[in-house]
Symmetry: C2
Subunit: 331 residues, 2 copies
């Protein structure tokens, strides 16, 4: 099978590609185990080289229809559509958010339709599709009323995924990811960037700012769980989703104060002390609009994994850091 990953140079895209290459096979959505013949990474920046003959790259703007036509052809069996403008940036640059989060998604779906092969499309949506007056615990039956451009644009993407699936143009699945923590690397323009930053930076010996009230509740999942969920979402038989093509990927509910307490338990008080509390109204407003807890029952019944605890997430992140530094020491 030939797999396209948009946003393939990003943290999740690269990690997904590496995980898929290690596995070498993937169920095709109808339960058949298939060899992975080719993975095409598409992104606006070049991904780091992956020494595997199955991997190729296209560097370019995902909203360019010519690029999309090069990217999707009659041989494309699966697409993980991860490319997106993140929440803070979509709020700051309205037109850019529309162009990438709506237009590029539409053009991608059109390219799939023209290909005529009804590829599986895993669309990464987000809990940011929720908003407004929310119940304490959200589920797939909570109505959507997103209060950010990012959430609006993701909700529109989900609707398109649903209709292109219903029309038989694609076999689509929209996965609403919780906030991912701990992301490696540097802060990004997502309003939720601090959820990784307050763990990652102190573990690197750097100070970090927590811009929200300690009681702010965040719905989150680890990178490993996110990747395993993307694969689980791909492997689901289409009939398991029926006429509801979106799934709330399982998360755990943790307050900012609990995150820092976890950090102290796992890495010590000297590390945890590097978190400074300094509220940022812009970020607080966006975070307040998003759900702090969810009901995992539908996703769990569909076979999606869930994290054990935030302590376990931090420990796993520390192992990843150690193996990354071993890898770079060996180079």
């Amino acid at each position: 099978m030939t797999i396209v990953i948009t946003g393939g140079a990003g943290f999740l895209g690269l990690r997904l590609a590496r995980t898929l290459l290690e596995r070498s096979t993937l169920r095709d959505g109808e339960g058949l185990e298939r060899l992975i013949d080719r993975i095409l990474l598409v992104d606006v920046t070049a991904p780091p080289a992956i020494a595997d003959p199955r991997v190729s790259c296209i560097v370019g703007d995902i909203s360019d229809r010519g690029l999309l036509n090069d990217m999707v052809d009659a041989g494309t069996t699966s697409i993980f559509h991860l490319a997106a403008i993140v929440s803070g940036m979509a709020e700051a640059d309205f037109d850019l958010g529309i162009r990438i989060n709506i237009d590029a998604t539409r053009h991608l779906l059109e390219a799939c339709r023209r290909g005529g092969r009804c590829p599986r499309v895993v669309f990464t949506s987000s809990v940011a599709v929720y908003g407004g007056d929310l119940p304490d615990i959200i589920s797939e039956t909570t109505p959507l009323n997103p209060q950010t451009s990012y959430g609006i644009q993701k909700a529109i993407g989900e609707l398109l995924i649903g209709d292109y699936t219903r029309k038989g143009f694609i076999d689509g699945r929209a996965l609403r990811l919780p906030t991912i923590s701990v992301r490696p690397g540097r802060p990004n323009a997502a309003a939720s960037s601090f959820v990784s930053g307050i763990i990652r930076e102190p573990l690197n010996g750097e100070d970090a700012v927590c811009p929200v009230d300690p009681g702010t509740r965040v719905w989150l999942a680890s990178p490993d769980t996110a990747i395993a969920s993307l694969i689980a979402g791909h492997e689901l038989p289409s009939a398991a989703l029926g006429n509801c093509r979106w799934v709330n990927v399982p998360g755990i509910s943790v307050t900012a104060a609990e995150m820092v307490a976890s950090l102290e338990r796992v890495a010590g008080s000297e590390v945890a002390k590097r978190v400074r509390w300094e509220r940022d109204p812009r970020i607080e407003r966006m975070m307040r609009g998003w759900p702090g807890a969810g009901d995992n029952s539908r996703a769990r019944a569909l076979g999606f994994p869930v994290d054990e605890s935030f302590d376990a997430i931090i420990r796993r992140h520390m192992e990843d850091m150690r193996s990354a530094s071993r890898d770079s020491a060996q180079v």
Copy 2:
């Protein structure tokens, strides 16, 4: 104030224009009574002449951005965006539905944004935004899962209305209209066209086919109530809607059998006998996906009107027919 009505040559658009001209004033959404200076009707076909110097027309394709720029300028205070591809046609011609129901709406919102005046935009949505596994009675808190392209496209329009409002580009209100009955004129390509046809045609001495099971429940409103609701939706202060920019316009719940029983009560058994029952699976499937009853409480609290009964709706339609034939006799 300068009012634009898209779909201005259509049944609702024309009726809205005539009602507004009779009133001569309209509250501006913040409660101030304003003189209606100008009404611009925009449609793909020319509307019949209205002998009022305040009315002008643009004939053209609403998805043409040049036309939209001519249509909306810095003087535009209010837009009633009624132009749409109806349900049956959007299902049959996917691209046309996307072009008019999504793209034209987006371009219209962009034209408003460029105008820089934050005009009031009343967007006609539909109960077709609901679908999938529905409760017996829908409300604004029922999650959307539309199972028709029309419903998907209207839901996307609502999300855009919400975000353009939140960003301060427009003051938008999305009104989810029930099925309108009794529409005058001829059948159209809406799956719900029969809901008017089984009353209108028999009253005209013609046979009509009811393509659904007699027990099929339809959520409907009369043309008068729909027009009064469009105006009520326009006149609402923006703050009354808060961060939830859509309103389920009040309807009444009537089965197909009850409609024909009403017809018999109001117009006699000879008229009612002109309805033939002949099920059409395509129409039944679309109707089954739509709600048969709704909770009017939010809209009623906001001041929207509601019909008294289906008998009253038929009687009012018969009066309209009589006055229309008097008018044409006088010409």
